[in-house]
Amino acid sequence: MSPDGLQRPRPFRFKLGIKTMARSAYWQSASSICCLLTFLLPWPASAAESSPAYQTPSSLIESDQVVARIDELIDQGWQENELRPSRAASDPQWCRRVFLDVIGRVPTVEELDRFASNRAPTKRRDLVEQLLGGEYAEEYARNWTTFWTNTLIGRTGGRQRRSLTNRGALEGFLHDWLLENKPHDQLASELITASGSADPEEEDFNGAVNFLVEKLTEDGVQATAKTAEIFLGTAVQCTQCHNHPFNEYRQDRFWQLNAFFRQARMRRKRDPEDENRRLASVADEDFAGEGRRVLGDDRGEIFLELPDGKLVDAEATEQTDAPIFFELRNGQVRVAYPVYVDGQSLADEFSDRGSPYGNSGAVQHVNRRAELAKLIVADRQFDRAMVNRLWAHFLGHGFTKPPHDMGPHNPPSHPELLDELGQAFRAAGFDQESLVKWIVLSKPYSLSSRIGRANREDDPTLGATPQFSRFYVRQMQAEQLYESLLVATEADATVSAEERAALKDRWLRQFNTAFGTDDGAESTTFNGSIPQVLTMMNGDLVQRACSTGSGSFLDRIANDPQLSNREKIIHLYRAVLARLPSKEETNICNELLAARDGDVVGSLQDIWWAVLNSNEFVLIH
């Protein structure tokens, strides 16, 4: 009855066929900045195993060298495409974008001042380390909880009535994870293999199951598609029904990947507290294969009932194979067993380990999801997918369009960089903060968003392959806007954390629509269209931010005896735009002050409203 093979170390295969080096060799070659490959290789052979010790991940790799390599490879692209990059962004501009992208809000005036007062040549690096450090740990965790929750279950997941997904529970799980900065491979494994109840009130509660909970219906088709999309950056959705029209993904690969999820069962039960609510949980159970049943007897031995009614001993026979079936477009039926996307079958894998049970669906023989998690995190595509996703978050475009549809049909703009960053991320123990740091400190991230004469062509919105020769302007996400307004105006300072979260959630909901299709597709009206502009002009959030009540932000600025009127206006501009007003703007503000005849707070309110409604505020630039 021993779980044969499961605990045995699996020889790690590096798919690019590069020989691994001894750990000591890493330090020798670390001085070379010409190629990351030379210092990335030697992660311990146990990297693919279940619980490696990642004690000092970021120290394994010298950030400077990774950053230098990014700059070098991006520069190469500029040269090849005869582009001259835009000038560097000013310090305040850069500071604003780093705050928005790393912790999800604009910097306050005090934070801008603090950054400006640092005269050290390493000031940008110092700021990034601050943002990744203890002082901002909570805000960092909040921002990336939003990022990962939206990635994993979308903006509407768990927000519909009667949804089995507990959004808050998933957020809680991710928040803790990010606060501790645990490695990304473990996060992926946790999410893919999670068992337990989705609801915090339940004894066997596990917030992580909320990624899969609703995706296990329809035989786990969505679980398969989302896992591949999120952790491998590959869109396999349409291969469910037919071969991919443009790449080599075939229909059998979809179902072979799907077979890994077939032991996972979602159970629903009635909420004891609420008649109309159902609580969900996920567990791995014996899977006999489609058309077969698992039977236990009173001695604890397991038998399988085959489609013809025959009983066979689960231990003694190859009948433990648990197949699934799928239909080709021409109506032919095919069988599938767990086979990873690279063609590696569990049957071969287990037979290497000396076990005949690779195709078994019995949990005592094989835990299919655990095997899948190991295969995924060991796959080079896992690190590349993460790099591509985060690169797109910071630079506005990934190395592929879209970032989650990688593959031979969609070659990346910078294959070498993608690959080397992926390796660096892997070598750094899948440390998200390291990856964030490298990207944010790179040259492409530091450039101005203004188009220059020699890089107008570099415009991905015009269909060009992105060369990152300027910072591509993009709109804030609704969450970033919300947090920015709160911080700038200290609007919710007196409200409890719980109430704050509820208010925010209510505000965010208004923008999202789910299409109601099985793929969980959704859309947002926070996309630069009229409903967004109406919200900004007349909605209650901006109303609150523009409040002039006693003790409000505007009230305090207006009545601050230390500040001249000019300084008051400057304060408003810096608080959300991180710049000083122009001459023309100052003039019109002064006209307003004059016309309002001493009503300073009223004039500031008008100015503040205009600033908050501007393109410059809502865009990250």
């Binding site: 029904c241 029209p245 188009i451 109601g516 299709t517 409903p531 703007e585 019109i588 410059e616 865009l619």
Partner: protein
């Protein structure tokens, strides 16, 4: 030709004289306030409109418009005769009475059977392409008819109940304006006096233009354009078109007190106001399980609203200038799966079209006896879109210059389905 009355009460001209009197800032006319003056002409309509009834999720057209009674793929429902040529599902008796005004295309054959890809393809006439975002139906129509829409103060492309597809390379000024089926436009009421808002808009205008001048890509200018449309919308009497409470009780009951019913009624009001493209969304067609049980409730909802819409348009003389198009992203498998459902199927399915110059009462194309194959000339999304554009007076010979500089034909170079016209 349809004429409309000038809105009463506070119209634009009126509004502008208010501004002139009380605004604190005597700044010259700026772009954002100028927008208010431009359109104060008599509403006159000389363009056609289109109402797209979008069945999100992929409706089982084999159970609705092209029934296969007797075949193993046929499903439990019976077909009934209609006022047109074809038979349709027995759960659509009211629509059956309008089928002399609508035609069925039974030979749609497409290749996109994934929701996202199918939604994109059927809305744009192009398969998804990572390097260029194509404009959807409504955006194309709004863009092509823009010169004839001078008196329209509400967005030319309205999507009721869901998101539709975006404007692609035409830019956010042609994006769908999404409202929910109760017609409430959230936050449409300004919170300050007109004069005060005008002062604010003057400063905002300076901010916007400064940032646009800094040349950081198209997003800044797009924002400024959408700001203008928003101001135009907020100050317009035409906003009333969204408010179906303006209809009497019996009319609302006629369309049905359902989300889809209210949406169809709103669509008719918007067409009356001069809106050239209105999309009405009815989701929930992704019937992988219990297909037939769910059709028992879905089809009657469609029946009431769709029949009322077509008849109402006809009675008001609007149907001859308004295309009504019913479709989803694809059909569903002829084969019935183990959960009494049907899965995604694009190879042979049906859409319905009528009005605006499209002939009614016809059945175009056919499928084989179990519905698995089209037996006549197959039609694509491009063909359907070309047909709709042609009948709306949009030239198919025109090339867009896509944002990547590539010339691109409207409707992807589809050919008109001549059996639907003339």
């Amino acid at each position: 030709m349809q004429h409309f009355t000038t809105p009463r009460g506070m119209n634009r001209r009126h509004f502008l004289t208010h501004l002139a009197g009380s605004a604190a800032l005597a700044a010259p006319a700026l772009a954002l306030t100028r927008a208010l003056a431009a359109n104060a002409a008599t509403l006159q309509r000389n363009h056609k409109s289109c109402i797209l009834l979008w069945m999100g999720g992929g409706p089982p057209s084999i159970d609705i418009w092209d029934m296969k009674q007797g075949a193993t793929t046929g499903g439990p429902f019976k077909p009934i005769s209609t006022k047109g040529d074809g038979q349709i599902n027995e759960l659509l008796p009211k629509v059956a009475q309008q089928m002399h005004r609508l035609s069925i295309v039974r030979s749609m054959s497409t290749r996109e059977a994934d929701h996202e890809r199918g939604r994109y393809y059927m809305h744009t006439g192009f398969v998804p392409n990572p390097n260029v975002k194509h404009p959807s139906y409504g955006s194309v129509v709004a863009h092509e008819l823009r010169r004839e829409l001078g008196a329209l103060e509400i967005p030319p492309f309205v999507s009721i109940g869901s998101a539709s597809e975006g404007p692609g390379f035409l830019g956010m000024a042609y994006a769908p304006f999404q409202v929910d089926s109760n017609g409430r436009v959230r936050d449409a009421q300004a919170k300050v006096s007109d004069a005060r808002r005008n002062d604010r808009m003057k400063l905002l205008d300076v901010l916007e233009r400064r940032f646009v001048r800094e040349d950081r890509g198209p997003a800044a200018a797009e924002h400024a354009k959408v700001l203008q449309s928003t101001v135009s919308l907020m100050t317009s009497k035409q906003m009333e078109a969204f408010d179906i409470q303006g209809e009497d009780q019996s009319t609302r009951e006629w369309y049905g007190e359902t989300g889809f019913g209210r949406s169809c009624l709103m669509a008719r009001r918007l067409v009356e106001t001069g809106g050239p493209f209105i999309e009405v969304n009815l989701g929930g067609w992704d019937l992988h399980e219990n297909c037939f049980e769910q059709l028992q409730t879905k089809l009657p909802e469609v029946d009431v609203a769709m029949s009322a819409l077509v008849e109402d348009l006809a009675t008001r003389g609007l149907l001859e200038n308004t295309v009504v198009l019913w479709m989803g992203e694809f059909g569903r498998t002829p084969r019935i799966n183990g959960n009494a459902g049907r899965d995604h199927w694009a190879r042979s399915w049906s859409v319905v079209a009528g009005g605006g110059g499209i002939e009614g009462g016809r059945v175009v194309g056919a499928t084989n006896e179990d519905g698995t194959r089209v037996t006549t000339e197959p039609y694509s999304s491009e063909d359907l879109m070309a047909t709709v554009c042609q009948t709306m007076g949009i030239s198919l010979d025109k090339f867009f210059t896509a944002s990547n500089g590539r010339p691109m034909k409207i409707a992807g170079g589809g050919k008109v389905i001549t059996d639907l016209l003339s």
